[in-house]
Amino acid sequence: MSLVAEAFMNQLAAAEPWPENAALYQQLKEDQILLSDNASSLAVQAFLQMCNLPVRVVCRANAEYMSPSGKVPFIHVGNQVVSELGPIVQFVKAKGHSLSDGLDEVQKAEMKAYMELVNNMLLTAELYLQWCDDVTVEEITHPRYGSPYPWPLNRILAYQKQWEIRRKMKAIGWAGKSLEQVLEDVDQCCQALSQRLGTQPYFFNKQPTELDALVFGHLFTILTTQLTTDELSEKVKNYGNLTAFCRRIEQQYFEGHDKDNSGTAAPRSAKRSLLR
């Protein structure tokens, strides 16, 4: 939409307060959702928790197709639908809630850069593992991805998605990488995050930001998801401050809301193996 229309919509959005029935849509938690989507969804949930905005998690088999950009998760707030963490952060900011207002310019630059690092390396590595590693594809991804649908639709959808992801990997140059190289990249990424975190409770000051939400989403999912091998989670476990960071955020933002609907207990149920 044009800039004027966008500004108008933003004004409208800002005018309304956050409703009580905001919903976050993702795929089916027990049977269908994959590692990368679960990580993204958890990141958004953590972010909204940190902003103290209530949201309930709704699981739908066709969440991917409902989303305006084709990616999960997406939130349905009032009469607007926004998908992916970046746009959601901006949308929430238009409503007057922001976690990164207290940062100075240099810190904001660093925050954006580290968020891109996570997207560039961790998310791509997760996608690679899910869709380009033959063992994982056979045993986990294909059965899960098409599980809500009858045969042969489940196989067709899975192959279609796999082809699309493999083309993307080729375009960005990851198709030629071996699993060891991908794990090496994950290790480098975790090392960088660990260095940046150091001994602080959060990445910037004492307050969490969207970077903390994103890192938590990915690392927690990696640590608690059981795959064919444990190599990925081992790489993360090597860094003690990262595991402590995940535990801290889980305790602070998710355990207190256990008595609420099952949506926010996502991390809890993820502890028992997500996939078997």
Partner: protein, 321 residues
């Protein structure tokens, strides 16, 4: 003592030692670290040993083609620009490189290769003039298609349909990225103090083409030019590490540490090729003339040269007899 490795990269233009961002990154990194590289500035990827540019030909490990791998190899050979960095700075490097690759580089590719006006009037023109015949007819188009496909895969299929909206969003992100870089650089000479690191090589290689090329449709370029510290940063690196005008193919005085004898190779070969093609053409014509009997050498008779068109009729008359 490392044997001189050979680097094949795209030729220079627009005031830069090389027009391709990846090649420029490798060149700049090599200059920063003083790695002894023999640089071949070629005008088509077919002349590179691996078929792609940039390519580093090493003695032991064959040819390496990916930018990141080339830099890692140089690092292993003890040419490490990041030696003095602290662990946090190393982490920051990784993060900022990711930011560049995700937000700035795709938009850069779009500006140069997909934006209709820029592509036709500037990029394609330059490549068609530089790449030798006959590749210059289809290679730029081929590269254009590759880049379009890559962007389509990265940005999703909706990109082609709603070009305006995505252009605004993506260009906005790229402008934000430039502003963030400017804020991070501040008034320092390089990103991490007084000596350059690999992050500087990457940033410079992405910014310099954008700054120097004369694009007809230069929205992103204007934004970059408004960020004074980034412009000064680029020009200072250019003048410090690439002091001669990198734009010309047959350049003079190579820098210390980079024996670039490969530059002047281009011209003599071109001359020689032209001469050869003319000679081959002449030889073919004469050979045909002799073989088909149009022209024949008779002992004691007048030389037949120059009578070819008329000689044809005489030949026919002779045969009829």
């Amino acid at each position: 003592m490392a044997a001189p490795m050979e680097l094949f990269c795209w030729a220079g233009g627009w005031g830069l030692p090389s027009v391709d961002p990846d090649c420029l990154a490798v060149l700049t990194y090599a200059r920063f670290t003083g790695a002894p590289l023999k640089v071949h500035r070629v005008s088509s990827p077919w002349r590179s040993p691996s078929g792609r540019l940039p390519a580093l030909k090493t003695r032991d490990e064959g040819t390496i083609s990916k930018t990141q791998q080339i830099i890692t190899h140089l690092r292993k050979q003890k040419y490490n620009a990041d030696f003095d960095l602290s662990a946090t700075q190393g982490a920051d490097t990784l993060a900022f490189v990711s930011l560049l690759e995700e937000k700035l580089l795709p938009v850069l590719i779009h500006t140069f290769w997909v934006d209709a006006k820029n592509y036709v009037e500037h990029t394609r023109k330059w490549y068609a003039e530089t790449i030798p015949f006959p590749l210059n007819f289809f290679l730029p188009n081929c590269m254009h298609k590759q880049h379009v496909e890559r962007l389509q895969l990265m940005w999703g299929d909706g990109y082609m349909e709603d070009e305006e909206k995505l252009e605004k969003e993506l260009y906005r992100d790229a402008r934000e990225c430039l502003t963030l870089l400017s804020q991070r650089l501040g008034s320092q000479k390089f990103f991490f103090g007084d000596s350059p690191a690999s992050l500087d090589a990457f940033v410079f290689s992405r910014l310099a083409p954008l700054l120097k090329a004369k694009l007809p449709n230069g929205k992103l370029q204007q934004h970059l030019k408004s960020l004074q510290n980034l412009c000064n940063y680029c020009t200072s690196i250019l003048s410090l590490y690439f002091p001669w005008d990198g734009g010309d193919l047959p350049t003079s005085a190579p820098r210390v540490g980079g024996a670039e004898g490969g530059d002047t190779e281009e011209d003599p070969h071109k001359r020689r090729n032209q001469l050869l093609s003319v000679l081959v053409g002449l030889a073919a014509m004469l050979g045909y003339a002799f073989l088909s009997g149009i022209v024949s050498i008779q002992r004691g008779a007048v030389g037949p040269a120059g009578r070819q068109p008329i000689a044809l009729e005489e030949e026919e008359e002779e045969e009829e007899e």
